[in-house]
């Protein structure tokens, strides 16, 4: 965010609040918290201009642990509150901190409309595929068959894919990152802040108590390089411990190929264009199960709601004869009683 005032210099400590952090030991939420506290000094924003808004759930305790402005609101409604904050004061850097239940179950409606409107704010979804704070019920991202306290014989409700839902709602910025990857997460937060428009970041967040290991097969240190492809704009879609796997388009599907086999060279590998308006390929990447796409999948610059509103307001102001409410009240069909 560009502010006119000189931006103060901060370290991550400047963003820690005096409140004791009460997440379970080992929770990925600590990683998100620390990554955010490290990202903020790099964003070039004054502390008083940062606002965290959350709903209800484990992740929604987040604002209490930051030393910025913040509001812990009600279940599912953080996008509405954050939209109001941003529209009231477009100079603020506004962050919605939410979970899979908060954003996609009770708050599903607000989630899609936030993305549709493209207000310049950021949303971090802590996706752990479970309800944590209410102690272990299935969520809208829980898998079919998943045994939880509210599905003791296995979950029968098919899940949402947050990325597909987001792109379906015309998200302009979507990133996905493992909850055990603070380095890339920090950079993604910085990039999300710089992006003009609504940025959505899905954190694959392990819940050590109710859904431990849910993302291990893609995020575990041993396998992550082979199971994840970390996308960077303008770079070829290459992954694997040996950097020898890549993605190509085969008819209407993405296909994993090995460089050096069957005459495949690096030239054949797709180059990631996050800024492309057409989201066809971004949708394919979001859907891909092997390898799982992480990093910034889509980052398409579009006009924001505030920009549209500001332009209209300026136009109406310039053409209006009403400067004060009195001008309006005494205009048109008035009459005198003597």
């Amino acid at each position: 965010m560009e502010t006119t005032t000189a931006v103060k210099k901060y370290t991550f400590k400047d963003f820690t609040s005096d409140q004791e952090v009460r997440w379970c030991p080992g929770c990925d939420d600590y990683v998100v918290l620390r990554s955010m506290q490290k990202a903020l000094p790099e964003m070039g924003v004054n502390k008083e201009d940062v606002v965290f808004i959350s709903g209800i759930g484990c992740s929604s305790r987040f604002p209490y642990y930051m030393s910025t402005y913040g509001m812990h609101t009600i279940h599912g409604r953080a996008p509405g509150i954050a939209s109001g904050v941003k529209l009231a004061n477009p100079n603020l850097s506004v962050w919605v901190m939410t979970g899979d239940g908060d954003s996609m179950a009770i708050g599903g409606n607000h989630f899609i409309h936030l993305l549709r409107r493209n207000i310049d704010l950021n949303m971090v979804v802590f996706n752990n595929e479970i309800y944590g704070l209410t102690k272990g019920q299935f969520s809208p991202t829980s898998l079919i068959g998943q045994k939880t306290k509210s599905s003791p014989y296995g979950n029968t409700q098919p899940p949402f894919s947050p990325g597909e839902l987001a792109l379906g709602a015309n998200a302009r910025f979507f990133a996905r990152i493992g909850g055990n990857n603070p380095k890339d997460m920090t950079q993604i937060f910085i990039d999300a802040h710089k992006f003009k428009g609504t940025s959505l970041i899905e954190v694959l967040q392990n819940c050590v108590i109710f859904n431990d290991g849910c993302f291990d097969e893609v995020t575990d240190k041993e396998v992550k390089e082979d199971r994840q492809i970390f996308l960077e704009h303008g770079k070829p879609m290459i992954f694997g411990k040996n950097k020898d796997k890549g993605l190509v388009l085969n008819k209407l599907k993405l296909e994993v190929v090995t460089i050096g086999e069957n005459g495949i060279t690096q030239e054949d590998i797709l180059v990631h264009n996050a800024k492309e308006e057409d989201k066809t390929l971004h949708q394919m990447l979001v859907r891909l199960e092997y390898p799982l796409a992480t990093g910034i999948i889509r980052s398409f610059s579009d006009v924001t709601l505030e920009e549209r509103e500001d332009a209209l307001t300026a136009q109406v102001k310039a053409n209006s004869k009403f400067k004060k409410t009195d001008d309006l009240f005494f205009s048109g069909e008035t009459y005198e009683v003597k």
Partner: protein, 617 residues
């Protein structure tokens, strides 16, 4: 062509009620508005009420497609749109059928006979033509071939298609009514010139038809031009006719300007509140930020966000929407942010009667949230004073850092009346609790000693970064607290904060007898009906009847108990099953309250009130 029945109607009236009714496409709202504006400029006091079908484009000629506009004009104080219609202008059989109930025998009906075709009679479910079967013989029926005469008047105007010709017949009826009530045509001719600027043929057509109706009425010796309604005695000043929803929107604009804050509206369309949104979105020139959200909940939550960021934040809705907003209003109460919630009440429960009026959201406004969550509740009582109470809602929210629910209703929201224009310079000051100066041991929950309002540091203010939320908070620091004693203390603080608002609102006033046999109590949009009924009884010689109308419900004015104790009997009149009376009974258990309730989606009629009150005096 013309037949008249027995003339029973009095020749001089100090007030008349005219109702224009026709098909949705007949232009009855426009006709009524023109008659209203012309009469207002003549100096009459006025109250109007539109009545249109909920169907957007109902089939032509159908009973449920009838649209109407009622206007009550007088040389005396007019406080309701009136019960009994003195003149009914019915443009087709369906309009006659659905509105005849409102006309008392002896009064006048103008009909367009051209529309009384077999097809239209069938659609109106008339087995025989009421103009011929004698069923109207107790009324004074003026039968006019209005469509034919309109066509005749326009035969020389070029550039008009058949549709435009037929559609201007409403101006024929307006011309007739102008002549009958001795009104000038000037205002409407001016109106045509403005509205159809550049379309000379339309200006000419409407003017011609208006004149045709006017001169037609003049040449009918059978119409006595005897209703000379003099200008009313009104406080001198500049006036305009204003509808309740517009007045509400303008009150908010005035409050934003006076307080120096930007206005944010988060809203979702719902009948009959949507016109407030329609009005506010027009005013981007004042910097109004109007946000049409995805639902009622996002409407109120976006407003809460804007309040956190320092705007004058508003959300507007009607009953079902208030239900959806309940949890969020509880949050605003808990985080102690200023928020104005406007509920234009309609018939409930559930979807109920969306286009009809009722006062049945009072208890929802008072208690419709989880936990102990008191908020300020006020109510507007006339179309014009919606301005004052919208302003007042903003003032109280800002000065007391808490949500305010303003109740209006479909009756006053859609009704209109003269409004003596208030300049913002003459409105009361509005303080707010914004802070920028950091004191030692500062907390966002530092409170004003007199009001207990907390201070209002907003994001963007250096050094005042803080977190608020829906969890219970420590009395001193505002941090999360699960301490049992602290919770009880905070619960009392929040209640006391609302109670202390009684020091910042006017006392309850009584009208008519200051003490005596009977006190009539009302609240909100029933003021006009109750006032005229008590006035009538008082004028008839019952001098021991008093009237107290509540605009402030939570908290109530300080002198409420004192007023109640001055009368032998108390009757509480409401358009619900007895909601305000239940609050009064709890608050003032030593008094006996009788009640008069109506739950028909309609306002009180004068007759029913007069009858009820007479039983008690």
């Amino acid at each position: 062509m013309i037949t008249t029945k027995t003339i029973l109607q009095p020749e001089v009236l100090e007030a008349v009620v005219v109702r224009f009714v026709g098909d949705s496409g007949d232009g009855m709202q426009l006709t009524g508005t023109q008659f209203t504006d012309t009469s207002a400029m003549f100096g009459n006091d006025i109250a109007t009420f539109p009545n249109y079908p909920s169907e957007i484009r109902a089939p032509q000629g159908s009973l449920y497609g009838v649209s109407g506009f009622q206007v009550h004009i007088g040389s005396v104080e007019i406080s309701t749109p009136g019960d009994n219609v003195d003149l009914l202008v019915a443009m087709n059989p369906a309009a006659l059928k659905t509105n005849l109930y409102a006309v008392k025998p002896g009064h006048t009906i103008i009909v367009d006979t051209d529309s009384f075709t077999k097809k239209n009679l069938d659609k109106a479910e008339y087995k025989t033509n009421p103009l011929e079967d004698g069923s109207l013989e107790n009324y004074r029926v003026i039968q006019v071939d209005m469509t034919t005469m309109t066509k005749e008047a326009l035969k020389d105007v070029e550039g008009l298609d058949n549709k435009s010709i037929t559609r201007s017949k409403n101006m024929f009826s307006l011309g007739m009514v102008y002549w009958m009530y001795n009104r000038s045509k000037e205002h409407s001719v001016d109106f045509f010139n403005k509205k159809f600027k550049g379309q000379q043929h339309l200006i000419e057509a409407n003017t011609k038809v208006l004149n045709a109706g006017y001169y037609f009425a003049e040449t009918l010796e059978l119409i006595p031009n005897a209703y000379s309604i003099s200008p009313a005695k009104m406080v001198p000043g500049t006036y305009r006719i204003i509808g309740g929803n517009t007045a509400t929107a303008w009150g908010l604009l005035a409050a934003a300007e006076k307080s120096g804050l930007e206005l944010f509206l988060g809203s979702y369309p719902i009948t009959p509140a949507t016109d407030i949104l329609h009005e506010l979105v027009k005013h981007k020139h004042f910097g109004v930020k109007a946000f049409q959200a995805e639902d009622e909940i996002a409407g109120v939550t976006s407003a809460i966000g804007a309040a956190f960021a320092g705007d004058l934040a508003i959300t507007t809705t009607s009953g079902p929407g208030l239900a959806l907003k309940g949890e969020a209003i509880g949050l605003a109460m808990m985080v102690e942010l200023p928020l104005v919630v406007i509920n234009v009440q309609r018939g409930g429960p559930s979807t109920g009667l969306p286009t009809k009026t009722e006062q049945s959201d009072l208890l929802q406004a008072m208690y419709g949230r989880n936990g102990e969550s008191p908020v300020i509740v006020i109510a507007a009582s006339t179309p014009a004073n919606c301005f004052n109470f919208a302003y007042e809602a903003a003032r109280l929210a800002l000065e007391h850092m808490t949500p305010v629910i303003l109740l209006t209703d479909g009756y006053i929201a859609n009704g209109s009346a003269p409004w003596k224009i208030r300049s913002v310079a003459d409105m009361p000051e509005i303080k707010n609790h914004k802070v920028t100066e950091i004191k030692e041991n500062w907390s966002p929950y530092d409170r004003d000693e007199k009001t207990l309002a907390r201070n209002w540091p907003v994001p963007g203010t250096p050094g005042m970064e803080h977190r608020i939320g829906g969890l219970e908070k420590d009395f001193v620091t505002g941090n999360i607290s699960y301490e049992p004693i602290n919770h009880e203390k905070m619960t009392h603080i929040r209640a006391e904060k609302v109670r202390l608002v009684e020091n910042n609102i006017p006392e309850l006033k009584t009208e008519f007898a200051e003490s005596g046999d009977l006190l009539v109590i009302g609240w909100g949009g029933t003021y006009g009906s109750l006032h005229s009924a008590v006035k009538q009884i008082s004028d008839e010689g019952y001098k021991n009847i008093g009237f107290a109308h509540f605009n402030y419900i939570n908290p109530m004015p300080k002198n409420t108990e004192e007023i109640l104790s001055k009368y032998k009997k108390i009757i509480v009149c409401e358009l619900n099953a007895g909601q305000f009376v239940s609050i009064l009974k709890t608050r003032f258990p030593k008094f006996e309250f009788s009640q008069h309730n109506k739950i028909q989606g309609l306002p009180f009629s004068n007759d029913e009130l007069v009858q009820q009150f007479k039983l008690l005096v």
